[in-house]
Subunit: 106 residues, 2 copies
DNA sequence: CTGTTTGGATACCATTTGGTTTCACATTAA
DNA sequence: TTAATGTGAAACCAAATGGTATCCAAACAG
């Protein structure tokens, strides 16, 4: 859905959320552990985690009374897909240039 | 302070701005031409262009009374750098994107 | 010169966002 | 059972965001 692309981009638009993603990339963490590393309340961190979850960038697993937040690499796919559009575009232009040069050589 | 990475991510967080970037990817356009393709006022489009410019994703060239908005592939570099830094799983795909941009810069 | 076209700037508005405080609930420990 | 721990949810707030309407300036066309 287009919404996933939008939610993913929105999730990455905040520096705190990008920091969270980087932290979770090296280790799964609970809200409490994350909150210890930020200068904000647990409620604020929770909101960020909700946005990240909406963006499909993290998943949450209940373990006892704890919630383990885990990064979901697949959630980055919509972002990369959108960026890949330019990869195609630039490749096309590069190919056109190459072809033009080759025609000139003949 | 607002880093270039933050400004670039922020610029891409809005769907209208991503649409603008895609439109400019295929053709340079004035603000008037862009406004014709959206259901919003010129002032609103102008604000989006300012955010895109702050993010380093576009450049503007004055030509007579017109201002030609042009995509700046280099502006995507901070985004790609961040994505590449945080997740090793996507290195291959991200490297292709980054190389395409670097080649075009030359 | 006189309009007309193209674009920027400002003031204003409603909604969203990022944060807080507070309270409630469930699970573990004593 | 009682207390402590880990979390979620709601109400609230200031600031940022995305939009509008309006006015103003510069460049082009007649």
């Amino acid at each position: 859905m287009h919404t996933q692309t939008q939610n993913a981009f929105r999730a990455l638009a905040d520096p705190t959320r990008r920091d969270i993603v980087q932290m979770l990339a090296s280790q799964d963490m609970t809200i409490g552990q994350l909150t210890d590393r930020f200068d904000m309340t647990r409620a604020a961190v929770k909101k960020h985690l909700t946005v990240l979850s909406d963006g499909g960038l993290i998943t949450v697993e209940a373990r006892g009374r704890e919630r383990v937040n885990r990064i979901d690499p697949q959630g980055m796919a919509p972002v990369l897909d959108w960026l890949r559009y330019f990869n195609q575009f630039w490749d096309d232009r590069l190919n056109s240039l190459k072809e033009a040069i080759e025609r000139k050589d003949k």
